[in-house]
Symmetry: C2
Subunit: 333 residues, 2 copies
């Protein structure tokens, strides 16, 4: 039997060796992140803003964290998944109503003729977006998206689109929330599209999703029942300089942490970094051609050029997907 003094020495040694006896302290909150500068920057930031009485303490109500979606929380190649939804939905409509197939944008979409869709300043693409996103109630649209998510799968990764989310980011979102942060999506994607899956996929409720939106009108249907009808008119583009504007409009507080992956996130990162007190601004760089994709300065989708230069100049944290992430997708490589 250990005497009290020996027990004391043993406990002290364990303490000096950095062991911890609390189950919580022993658990790595970010197990899919390799030990790296980026991971340490996150852990240090959370530690300092939550240390009560410390110089960098931030009260929980002001612990606002904003995340871009496409390319930051889930993948975005070979095309934005919302665009894939639009194309699939147009094909579905053409199957249901064969008389449509001879008209645009149905003909080009069914033929896979992207060049045709992009002609005349992308007129066909706009028609395809309008025909798949508008002319219906918000409830009808949500049902279409839900059905699509339940039946579609990614063309090369062969998994559900809502399983193309990044495991390390799921851990980061949960870790931030466990430390009193309120996590928001701030994305150029459509707000009504993302809200269908954000709660289940990320634990982010609809009211914490900020995105682009079209005009919606309130009306009574013929039976006198209220409904919200989606009109074919863009109302707000939550991208680039629209992101800080969207943050101001929807959240009304400046984030203390922002995470993006492309030049469309530059102004959100600038706005976040410019606030007083501790700030953490992060960019995930797509460097992993094997497990995900590798692209940056010249990519048509998710172009990361100016924001990468500014990150280097200002010391923002750049997460290298290949080097910093042990795992990319849940239940995947």
């Amino acid at each position: 039997m250990l005497n009290r003094r020996a027990l004391g020495v043993a406990l002290l040694s364990a303490g000096l060796m950095g062991w911890s006896f609390g189950a919580q302290a022993q658990t790595d909150p970010l197990p899919s992140w390799n030990d790296s500068k980026a991971k340490q920057a996150i852990l240090d930031f959370v530690a300092k803003v939550t240390r009560e009485g410390g110089p960098d303490f931030v009260r929980p109500a002001e612990r606002i964290a904003t995340f871009d979606n496409d390319g930051t929380l889930w993948a975005e190649q070979p095309v934005y998944f919302q665009l894939q939804f639009a194309l699939d939905e147009i094909k579905r409509q053409a199957r249901d109503k064969p008389e449509l197939a001879a008209t645009e944008p149905y003909r080009s979409v069914v033929a896979g003729n992207l060049k045709g869709l992009m002609a005349n300043g992308g007129k066909g693409l706009q028609q395809a977006l309008a025909a798949s996103h508008t002319g219906m109630t918000t409830d009808q649209f949500a049902t279409l998206v839900r059905n699509w998510l339940d039946t579609a799968s990614h063309p090369t990764k062969q998994r559900r689109y809502d399983e193309m989310v990044y495991q390390p980011q799921l851990e980061l979102l949960a870790y931030l929330r466990a430390n009193g942060f309120k996590t928001f999506i701030v994305s150029g994607g459509g707000v009504e599209f993302m809200r269908v899956f954000a709660e289940k996929a990320y634990g982010i409720p609809p009211e914490q999703v900020v995105g682009s939106s079209g005009l919606v009108k309130f009306r009574l249907d013929p039976a006198g029942k209220p409904e919200l009808f989606k009109e074919p008119k863009v109302e707000f583009v939550d991208d680039g300089p629209g992101k800080p504007v969207g943050i101001n409009r929807f959240i009304g507080r400046r984030p203390i942490l922002a995470f993006g992956n492309s030049d469309g996130d530059l102004q959100m990162l600038q706005y976040t970094a410019a606030g007083p007190g501790p700030r953490l601004t992060l960019i995930v760089r797509h460097t992993d051609a094997e497990r995900e994709w590798a692209y940056d300065r010249t990519s048509a989708i998710g172009k990361l050029d100016k924001a990468l230069d500014e990150a280097a100049a200002k010391g923002w944290t750049v997460v290298d997907m290949k080097a910093d992430w042990k795992k990319v997708f849940p239940n995947g490589p």
Copy 2:
């Protein structure tokens, strides 16, 4: 000394008389509400949506409650307080820059000439709103509102404007939150105006305030620092049919409880009532000329006419301020 049998009888009698021995159960969560049909409707609704396993249970994430602000959470007479802020701010500008005093809208505002402000379709009023709300950064505007709240007082009630809130509603908001509801403001008032005081006055954080808004632009100041600049252009009017649209845009979920006081709340109440499952729709009627004001069908401010008819037709809960509220303002009558 009481024997065990006598103690048992005493406890049983107390129970039969409706006494309760738990400190929590003894506390009335709505002490400023008289026992009335309205109060009972609220208590019954909260009890049924929070009863796990019950037929009307609503999971916490979907317990969305929306409140109008002017006339529902705080007073709105003799004019909307935000309009009073605008007029006071114009007077302040005219004091600071006497050269303005000869021009409109300064001349009419300083002279108290409301007729002049309303001439030509309210052109002067629009100018006054623009000059007090735009042409500055969002941070500068918040500072103006904060300074005004700290120095202004209501012309007849002689109290701070942010103390013109309704005590029974503060209790209701707290009671709902204690039962897992998320409470939102959905108001025709300006979102940036309300956010300055909503957290302190109501316990409602900025991201749960939905309101009207003007165009805001992101830009870098001459030193390269990001700022959000308020442009003189109305962007969204969160009133009437705009309220369900605002709810859809900002919250993305239909409320299960909505509370208003005027025809501007009609569509929010219709939209709330039309959802599936349990719903509670409430209207506060201003019937108390002594402690507050009495007005409804013909009032220029807070007109309650169509919504009152629809409340009667559909069985919505009408709260009679004079009869149902023990107290109107905190520390007041």
